[in-house]
Symmetry: C2
Subunit: 299 residues, 2 copies
């Protein structure tokens, strides 16, 4: 049985390409691990590397990435638009195939402990790996950012890390390690130039405004195409499926007299999330993923 864990570490370096390359190289050097993507954002001064592998491979690669980041990134003097607390700022493990969320929680805790023990970086556990309800959400853990946490970690017992010393690493700060469902970035484009419609629909469907669970959404104008866009992050497609969201948008748009023109998956998506559309379209009964010939390669 093949297994895939996805790992999507965020590093506080988005300007020195040679440093990001070096981190990616230390991750890719682990046998069986495949780096799928590396994105640098100079404004945020931050980069995101996406890689996959089995549990053992991903654990080792995540640690090697952490080690390189700790050696090469100095948070003193780090400036950027995105909130952050350390060189390896966030390290989420994501179950994709043949592993459970609990497996990824175990992975987060063991890699987190190793980062604390071997690199002397304090580690906080978040989302599914959190040890306290108030530590599930990232913003709670990032309060005060690097500069604020430097003081708070030593003075405030409430900010004691889950692993490692109660002081920041002198250059690498702290690290937030966790487990979460796969994130799907998905845009739905509507056949109108009226951005207010996209904004209204986004507001109606997003969780933060009382809409659908695990959906983040914003409305944008695509001026050059004469369309508007509902741009989404689906943070748990098993709670709210792409089909549910698509039907919700279709119905809200229809009430505005507008049609869905197209949708676009940005980056990666798990098979089941996309397959649900085929099941819906073909009205498939009794269909199992194992009927897809290519899945037999994963047995």
């Amino acid at each position: 049985m093949a297994e895939i864990v996805e790992c999507v570490p965020n590093f506080s370096e988005g300007r020195r390409k040679e440093v990001v390359d070096e981190i990616a190289k230390s991750i890719a050097s682990v046998s069986g691990v495949r780096v799928l993507d590396a994105e640098m954002d100079p404004d945020h001064n931050r980069s995101v590397i996406t890689f996959i592998g089995d549990r053992a491979g991903v654990a080792e690669a995540a640690f090697q990435g952490a080690r390189t980041a700790v050696a090469r990134i100095d948070m003193n003097g780090h400036r950027g638009a995105h909130p952050r607390v350390g060189a390896l700022d966030v390290l989420p493990f994501v179950p994709i195939l043949g592993v459970t969320m609990d497996d990824c929680v175990a992975l987060a805790r063991s890699v987190g402990k190793r980062i604390a023990d071997e690199l002397q970086v304090p580690v906080y556990l978040y989302e599914a790996a959190a040890t306290r309800p108030d530590r599930r959400a990232l913003p709670n853990l990032r309060r005060g950012e690097y500069e604020g946490l430097k003081v708070a970690i030593e003075k405030d017992p409430d900010r004691k890390p889950d692993f490692g010393p109660s002081r920041l690493h002198p250059t690498a700060g702290a690290c937030i390690v966790g487990a979460r469902p796969v994130l799907i970035a998905w845009n739905v484009n509507l056949g109108t130039k009226d951005v207010a419609i996209a904004k209204r629909i986004a507001k109606a469907i997003r969780e933060s405004d009382g809409g659908l669970p695990a959906v983040r959404a914003k409305g944008f104008e695509l001026a050059d195409r004469g369309l508007v866009q509902v741009s989404m992050n689906m943070t748990d497609y098993q709670r709210t499926s792409l089909v549910q969201v698509f039907e919700a948008i279709r119905s809200l748009a229809a009430k505005e007299g507008v049609e869905i023109i197209e949708s676009e998956i940005i980056g990666l998506v798990p098979l089941d999330a996309i397959l649900a559309g085929a099941t819906q379209y073909f009205k498939l009964a009794r269909f199992h993923r194992e009927q897809i010939l290519e899945t037999r390669l994963w047995d």
Copy 2:
């Protein structure tokens, strides 16, 4: 890059389970080859074994299956409803992933030659591997069946095999080897008890009555469910897609005032064939199969 060839040999034995098991075992004994299915039909006195692997593995497994069938099946005295010419009656190679139809033609020809050379069984090449246009279709090659071919192969120069001797193997007869697209068995159920509607729609869409290329279709009654069924074999989904057929059935049914209730894939289906439904449903633009996380296991 992973590669998958599917192989679906038909053997002239559908009653002695121990013989079919022995054939399946000789196929499965080849490293890297996976037997997905083995079906015995006592009325046809015939069995179909489905297996996958890379080119080298499938070539070896196909030959081992042929060797066992030639050793264990005697066509003298074989009776059954299905037309046949030999112990290993038909041996098609099917490209699934990372291999082309031309690769499968090459495979069919090299395995066919080996069966002729080492087992002294005359071999005819069919479909994409055929050496003459009139040998593409199976029924042409099966003319007269085992009993008729016994005489014709020796007397009629037109029936000379592509490989091996111009006489049948004394017990195993002849063998038809080829390459073809993957076959998808698919049923679409309609919300009516009137089987005439399913029969009319089947007639309208099937190739043999001037309908869609590479579609075979029949209409049936599902009396216990109060529905009727358009039962199809899609013989080349890249020529006529499942979406095209689904839309055709939907539109023909609508004209009869009937709706599609559900559809069902019988057995195996390639990812791309089913993914087309998701692309259609979500109106996906710029979507590539490589965006599906699990496909990264095949790189």
